[in-house]
Symmetry: C2
Subunit: 442 residues, 2 copies
Amino acid sequence: MNGGDEIPEALSAAELRDIWPIATIADRVEGFKLLRRGEAEDLFLGLAPRDQAPLLLSLPREEQRSWMRLLPPDDAADLVQAAAAVQRGALLDLLDEPTRNEVNALLAYAADAAGGLMNPRYARLRPDMTVDEAISYLRKQARERLETIYYVFVLDDRQRLVGVVSFRELFSATSETRVQEVMRTDVVTVPEHQDQEAVSRLFATTGLLAIPVVDDENHIKGIITVDDIVGVVQQEATEDIQKAGGMEALDAPYLAIAFRRMVRKRAGWLSALFLGEMLTATAMAYFETEIARAVVLALFVPLIISSGGNSGSQASTLVIRAMALGEVRLRDWWRVIRRELAAGLVLGGVLGSIGFLRIVLWQAVSPLYGEHYLLVALTVFGSLIGVVTFGTLAGSLLPFVLRRFGFDPASASAPFVATLVDVTGLVIYFSVASVILRGTLL
Amino acid sequence: MNGGDEIPEALSAAELRDIWPIATIADRVEGFKLLRRGEAEDLFLGLAPRDQAPLLLSLPREEQRSWMRLLPPDDAADLVQAAAAVQRGALLDLLDEPTRNEVNALLAYAADAAGGLMNPRYARLRPDMTVDEAISYLRKQARERLETIYYVFVLDDRQRLVGVVSFRELFSATSETRVQEVMRTDVVTVPEHQDQEAVSRLFATTGLLAIPVVDDENHIKGIITVDDIVGVVQQEATEDIQKAGGMEALDAPYLAIAFRRMVRKRAGWLSALFLGEMLTATAMAYFETEIARAVVLALFVPLIISSGGNSGSQASTLVIRAMALGEVRLRDWWRVIRRELAAGLVLGGVLGSIGFLRIVLWQAVSPLYGEHYLLVALTVFGSLIGVVTFGTLAGSLLPFVLRRFGFDPASASAPFVATLVDVTGLVIYFSVASVILRGTLL
């Protein structure tokens, strides 16, 4: 929707949710106010925190309280964190005191750690209760604002986690069975400071609906439910994709982000790449005499360095993604190098053959490459094998080096790989040329 | 783990799950057989279908049946699809007849459509039941193999979906209330042939645990639960990341995929890029006289074309991801172009200025660029603005063109953008040079 269009009257909730990413803030507020209360609440609860915050703040002050109090503590904490620092105190004041204390406790965690994703309100039982007692107890609790009653956590008298039971298991058990006979004791848990990417992997492999967050002494601090994780997985994926494409994560929808902000993020990344690439001009200057003597060599420079860049980018993308999914670990570096060395030689051979053939065929059609065209073709063939192999090795090794020194492989690989491979590629190319073409063109 | 290492005896289930992606098939089977039955079942149920299939097939035939029958119909269908075609009949024969019929019905859907993700066994109620009747009924059903009892679907006498009620809502209601008074009638549904990426977006925005799949007449065909979606979102993200990095999706863990298969997929992609890039050699040949006359121009060729490539790849990555998340649609093309034109001019100005400065500064240090160095610097400045603007426009427009003609923008953009921008970049560069340097170097 263009900024100039009017929104037709009274969109349904589904329609409003549909156009949400591309509507302006004014349009969103207007559409929101026209919804029936129930639908508006559902829409609000389904928005990302960065959309909830401006929407709530645009409502009249006396209306803000009921919307803020609609949120469970973990979502309220996210909304507070999404708002500007100056507004956070006012937002927290909208909450009742017990909830405000809970939210403050959650705000102490990093937003993208397990503690920052969890909800401290979970259903709990004692191990010695009978199934019937448990079900009646949960029926009363069901009316309270628990995150979920579908997974119930069993705590001992010191509030430590001793087991978990799904509501369904309780429900299918016979009345006099005790909770401790039905519960599972090998509970999948997550430490408080675990990062969200690791948490989402755990959800993906276990298929659980909720996982408790525990401290060092196995006290539950809260639970994370799988619906929170879907949003996390998408967000992490978007960040990784944007990094693979050569830029800092935008963290806002493409058409909604302010122009200046988007350009600033992109300019930073492009400039970093550019500064690195300037070394190629230095490398080329080093071989200026060779180029002047055999201009035909210059014709293949873009082809050589782009092959190095493409193979390096392929290799680093694969390794980075494999690391993110837990398929490859730091100690697997040797196994990866062996694979990539072999792959690089094969791929270099394939591209080198295509390049060789192309020169020979073109020469037959129109003799552009002079009498020594076979030697030129051989130069290109040899250089491509060298460049592609180097590119593959560099591209696959760099994520390991970066991670070893504590950097995020996804952000830092692209500029390093590109520069390294381009500059080295030029050196390989002209060195091979000065050997093969010695005495003839050079 | 290297191929030569032995697995220590009797790994726990958590340890086995941890090393799973990097273990060989033989190691996996051995570790699996040493687990207690309950833990082995949990592990099996948490594996991806492509891992379940070879594991199951490696067990003795008489053991395979109980493992196959452990799976709900939707997961059984996925396992059958993951196996080789020749084995599918044998796998289906392991199932009891009613389940086999269900699975065959599911296999009729594409694996990555809503129908291919759903489970046909869901909990259902009639609208006129009382809450107490409903709870007793569900208590009996809880022992059966329903996907979930936590969302219950209300059907009329013609089996059409009229409402949904969460178990928790039933549980908190008073005993004599009728189901139709508690249920929600505006049910979020998904059509049978909806693709999985759209389904996962729906889960992300609504936060629901399960969504029913319906046909044109609002009969429920089955339900999809959110735990299935987490795996889908990760899989789609991995595919998109690998495409952004310049290759066909691997669809297997990095260290597990056979070397030959990996190289074949990568060689295909690299060769396609290479064939496109060969046009740069043709373009350079066209300007061979200019290069021979002003060799200094050759020094900046890698810098110019890499800037075009980087800005193009940035722009296309952003637009492709925005399309995948539903933030940008085909009809938004004009809005996108205006943004990208402006962004390209700004970014080109930034890079052009850096390039200009570099040449001027280097010349002061060591006069590599001859007496006309200022004109050379101006050439680089002007070319960079042109190349980056063109790259940004081309990179952002191409996904629209591809989608308009029915192609997947993510797969096809990279080779097109790279070739287009490199070749055009060279033409822009040498054309700008022949204007600015006319009469001096050229």
